[in-house]
Symmetry: C2
Subunit: 436 residues, 2 copies
């Protein structure tokens, strides 16, 4: 890379928790490498409300001349600092920090998916107004370079769909359920014990975290803003061992997916567990790994796999952005690539989305039951791709599992309602989308 050894770029970081600590650690360890590859990047200031933790980090890493403060204003107003890393988390405080920093002419690097997926448009506009960079590679899929890949490497290509395993916690849980036959609750506990899941796992297992990431990916890929609130979510808490085992028998794995598609008129976006064929590349992505699978006009099918979280992978993504922001400062091209949303496609109603479905039904073990279910499906033009009668639940009940052909969501849900009302059916135990 063109090096600019005469420059030293001073940066500041707000928040030195796990991810912030990772970024600072890499910057300290790879200082020489980074200087050789571009220019000297010096950590000038840390702001963290926990002064002790910040001091400990600085002394452990042997960093010199780093000013520590518990007030982020000290960073934002320091005229020697040109790039701010924000890794505070949450919405309100980082919104205030980032917008003030941008207004003060600082480039900003953040890993904050909550904020970018909800207020990315305002912040990117603010960055543009102030002629600085706002970069957020680390907000999606941790260490996997995907934002720059989509914005730059694939800039000539029309992306049609993105399917991502963008939440490591749920991928860990589903892998444990599938490979070790654990029930959901036990797999969750294991994930919590290993630090992959929070004490309150709601945001992960209910799909909110994945929704933020797929919203950001969709915005970047389709050049049209998608916000987290526009993404319908469905969690994995209802996935049982039976679903996992039946899926396997049909030749599928169950994965938690963020899906975004664009047909040039509308954007379809959703987060939910889905059956995908065992031969699909996403089915091979195990444990807490993330992966983003892209289908486009020209590159066709491509997949990017790696660690979606963790101090060092996420820290590396943050510093990759810092280096890009520093290059833009050296070359006087701050604001080189900011908001890429020149289009404005409406979001397709969930009712109009089309998928295959898996449906598991607890029904009387009697003649005519299957026919009644098939009829209810047929009434709404839902055709059956495959079906099996599976385990006996009791002396009188058995489980029937059906995989449908592709069908409009609203039509399928009407069929499900009819099935639920059948006298021979005790319960529709689960319905899960099937993706190819």
């Amino acid at each position: 890379m063109t090096t600019y050894k005469s420059n030293t770029i001073n940066i500041g970081i707000v928040g030195v928790g796990t991810v912030g600590g990772g970024a600072v650690t890499i910057l300290a360890r790879n200082a020489e490498l980074i200087a050789n590859r571009l220019t000297k990047i010096r950590l000038a200031r840390i702001a963290d409300k926990d002064l002790e933790r910040a001091s400990k980090l600085v002394s452990e890493l042997g960093l010199q001349d780093v000013i520590i403060s518990d007030d982020w204003h000290d960073l934002i107003t320091d005229p020697t600092i040109s790039i701010i890393i924000e890794v505070v988390g949450g919405i309100n405080l980082p919104m205030q920090i980032i917008s003030t920093a941008l207004k003060n002419g600082k480039s900003v690097v953040t890993a904050n998916k909550d904020l970018i997926s909800s207020h990315g448009d305002e912040l990117l506009a603010l960055a543009e107004e102030n002629g600085v960079d706002l970069l957020f590679e680390a907000a999606v899929a941790g260490g996997i370079p995907i934002i720059q890949v989509v914005k730059e490497s694939l800039a000539a290509d029309k992306i049609n769909s993105i399917m991502g395993i963008v939440n490591g916690t749920t991928n860990y849980i589903l892998t444990a359920m599938s490979e070790n036959n654990l029930p959901f609750a036990e797999a969750l506990k294991q994930a919590q014990d290993l630090g992959y899941a929070e004490a309150d796992p709601t945001s992960d297992v209910e799909g909110l975290d994945a929704a933020r990431k797929i919203a950001i990916l969709a915005s970047v890929a389709f050049n049209s803003r998608v916000k987290d609130k526009q993404v319908p979510v469905e969690g994995i808490t209802k996935i049982s061992q039976w679903d996992i085992q039946y899926a396997k028998e049909f030749g599928y794995a169950i994965k938690m997916l963020g899906i975004a598609k664009c047909d040039g008129r509308q954007i379809e976006v959703r987060v939910h567990p889905a059956l995908i064929p065992l031969t699909h590349p996403l089915a091979t992505v195990r444990d807490s790994y993330n992966a983003v699978y892209i289908e486009s006009d020209d590159v066709d099918k491509a997949m990017f796999t790696g660690r979606g979280a963790g101090a060092l992978p996420t820290g590396s993504a943050i510093l990759g952005d810092v280096i890009n922001a520093a290059r833009n400062i050296c070359l006087q091209t701050r604001g080189r690539i900011n908001c890429t949303c020149f289009a404005s496609y409406p979001i397709k109603s969930l009712d109009d989305t089309i998928s295959q479905y898996y449906i598991r039904i607890n029904a009387k073990d009697a003649a005519g039951v299957f026919a009644a279910i098939a009829k209810a499906l047929g009434n709404e033009d839902v055709s059956i791709a495959s079906a099996m009668q599976k385990r006996w639940i009791s002396e009188h009940n058995a489980e029937i599992v059906v995989i449908t052909h592709a069908v409009r969501h609203a039509d399928f849900m009407r069929a499900v309602e009819q099935i639920g009302k059948l006298e021979c059916v005790d319960a529709v135990e689960n319905i899960i989308r099937v993706e190819e």
Copy 2:
């Protein structure tokens, strides 16, 4: 992306064969998308010795005002053209075209792996001298964005090793051998029939093509120049069905790999077929797909998978580079990132490389044979990880298959020589490295 709608960037292309035709097709089809994402990029000139093919392409795509010529000098001297795409292939002619273009102040985009892996250093220096860009994303792994990823997204990270399935032809052949039990010759013929392999497949099956790509990847990843000639290669022509089947029994797939490692003192680089565990992500990469697997200090393990060849995937990579070069023109930052080799590590001798090995031996079916083989291995400090006596070749002969623990190459080869001389051994049928 920041758009520069007032600019129109004129480009020229030399060579409109498969890949060049792909690039022109995408540029025509996605003209509006590219204009919205950055600026208008207009194909002003084509040079191709086959004027008819060039005219046909232009008229099929309905392109207006494209000047066709059979002399590349016409492009290089046209002052209205600022970016040249070179997709001629070979070494001497493209060397002349690219160096003249760079000297004339044109940025150049090429897919030419032969040239970049052999003369990349000179050409990048020339680009730097003339303050223009020389970009070559399409030279490695076709549609997979990997050069920009390594140069920019992973710029803060220290990469320790790269393993790549970077030749689609051999991956197709090995997949067909493994999944359809075809012998090498038949799998090759199938690849030729499908257009995946050339009539003369030497460059692919002997590993020369992969050597060029791993040389380029190593140079970029380790910031130290590696040339194609420095890469020891071993082809796949000796891989038999027996090797594939025995590997499976031991829990491995056989893949053709380009491998590059750097320990901060030396670079190790080689191309050869290898056994890799069936659980390794590279083992799941099938057919003609390519994949690059990176291990680094911080991002840890990441893999990038996609189509490594073909008109549209490669064309998309070329145009991604064209867009980057165009952005640099708009922002007056031509030469933004050129040669990144600031270090100069020596290449480790093949003798000193350390691997596990698979060895298949045709030996007398008699008492003491295994002991003799084990002794020959032991003499050179090669220890056995697992071993099996496999099929009976004849009434008197059987096949013995051994997988060793990690061992220095030269030591292992001495042991192999001893085994070959044993009276009870008729032949060492094959030796293949084992990678984890």
